[in-house]
């Protein structure tokens, strides 16, 4: 499944790259100046009726940010620790000053995420879901926004490639599985990949990255 997620992410990036001529590059001045080493990911705010939206994104955020080269605080331990500290409510945390949250954990920066739109349409051989999510990285020292990105993706689990008839059957199987037990982790992975890896608006590489941005 991971392969598929990643391949689809790359496919999406490819499409983005193809029409990126007039996209302006993000202004990274504040991020470069702050130069954070560690990122605290706080519980995701859910503005949709899809109950699993927040947890699905929370569970998938550590890997893309760590792979970018940042130290990422332990997601589950942080979630429970914040609950114990009276910070269990994602909406409340979203309004808490970044300096306060960062101070609790010794984090250089805080990543807030908010799922704003989630719409699924079900059909026989495909299930299409459209999701919008906003990511904001704030400085743990000043509270200033270091980086942000809004992503809207349309996700349709597909077993494309190879024999078209086999692929069609596989698509129908996947659509059936999605209807019975929707798995939105690939969708979240795709949105995260678009948000963090985009060459004009993505997150800069962190201190543990071996690659140049």
């Amino acid at each position: 499944m991971k392969l598929l997620q990643l391949l689809m992410s790359f496919a999406t990036l490819g499409m983005l790259a193809g029409c990126a001529q007039n996209v302006t590059k993000y202004d990274y001045t504040a991020l470069r100046e702050a130069n954070p080493r560690s990122i605290l990911i706080v519980p995701v705010v859910n503005k949709t009726t899809q109950v699993e939206a927040a947890d699905t994104f929370l569970a998938t955020l550590a890997s893309p940010i760590a792979e970018k080269g940042y130290y990422v605080f332990p997601i589950n331990m942080v979630k429970h620790s914040m609950e114990d500290d009276g910070l269990g409510d994602a909406d409340m945390v979203a309004n808490a000053p970044a300096q306060r949250l960062a101070g609790l954990f010794g984090a250089d920066a805080v990543l807030y995420a908010e799922v704003n739109h989630w719409e699924a349409s079900y059909a026989l051989i495909s299930t299409t879901t459209t999701v919008s999510i906003r990511y904001v990285l704030k400085s743990g020292k000043s509270g200033a926004t270091l980086w942000d990105n809004n992503v809207t993706i349309t996700y349709s689990p597909q077993a494309s490639g190879g024999n078209p008839i086999a692929a069609l059957i596989a698509d129908a199987i996947i659509a059936a599985i999605e209807r019975a037990h929707p798995s939105y982790i690939p969708l979240a992975n795709q949105a995260n990949a678009v948000a963090f890896l985009d060459q004009n608006k993505g997150l800069l590489n962190g201190p543990y990255s071996t690659k140049e941005h």
């Binding site: 499944m1 991971k2 392969l3 598929l4 990643l6 391949l7 790359f10 080493r37 560690s38 699993e52 947890d55 699905t56 929370l58 569970a59 998938t60 550590a62 890997s63 760590a66 792979e67 080269g69 940042y70 130290y71 990422v72 605080f73 332990p74 997601i75 589950n76 331990m77 429970h80 620790s81 914040m82 609950e83 114990d84 500290d85 101070g103 609790l104 954990f105 010794g106 984090a107 250089d108 689990p157 077993a159 490639g161 190879g162 086999a166 692929a167 596989a170 199987i173 996947i174 599985i177 019975a180 037990h181 798995s183 982790i185 543990y208 071996t210």
Partner: protein, 126 residues
């Protein structure tokens, strides 16, 4: 189970082209979501963390935060000694974690009896 069928279909069609990641992630994200869906799935989350560490250590690919996650699981089971050991490993591997881990270690050291989930995170209180 719901993931494995999907994985099977995908893996069958796309075998042999795995992109390289910096760290070993294993089932950590999927198991975390499963645990949030159903708290009784916590042992599987536990195991996913242990598997990531075991596999990651073979090639120095243990992701940031994973020793701490394992420590927190040990703490929630009342094994404070093991928790402290793992928090120290997180600290040694990632200097960025020192402040948080020192609080967690101090907290685990104070509590000798079985710690419930509710009291386990007091280490971050200002």
């Amino acid at each position: 189970m719901k993931f494995s069928l999907f994985a099977f279909a995908a893996a069958g069609l796309l075998a042999g082209c795995q992109p390289q990641t910096k760290y070993e992630w294993g089932a950590y994200p999927n198991a975390m979501l499963a645990y949030y869906r159903a708290p009784e799935d916590r042992p599987a989350f536990d195991k996913a963390i242990d598997d990531v560490i075991a596999k990651g250590e073979e090639k120095h690919r243990v992701p940031p935060g994973l020793y701490a996650e394992a420590g927190y699981e040990a703490l929630s089971k009342g094994d404070n000694q093991r928790a402290i050991e793992l928090f120290n490993r997180e600290k040694a591997a990632w200097p960025e974690s020192v402040s948080f881990m020192d609080k967690a270690i101090a907290n685990a050291g104070k509590t000798n009896q079985k710690v419930s989930e509710n009291t386990a995170g007091k280490g971050v209180s200002p």
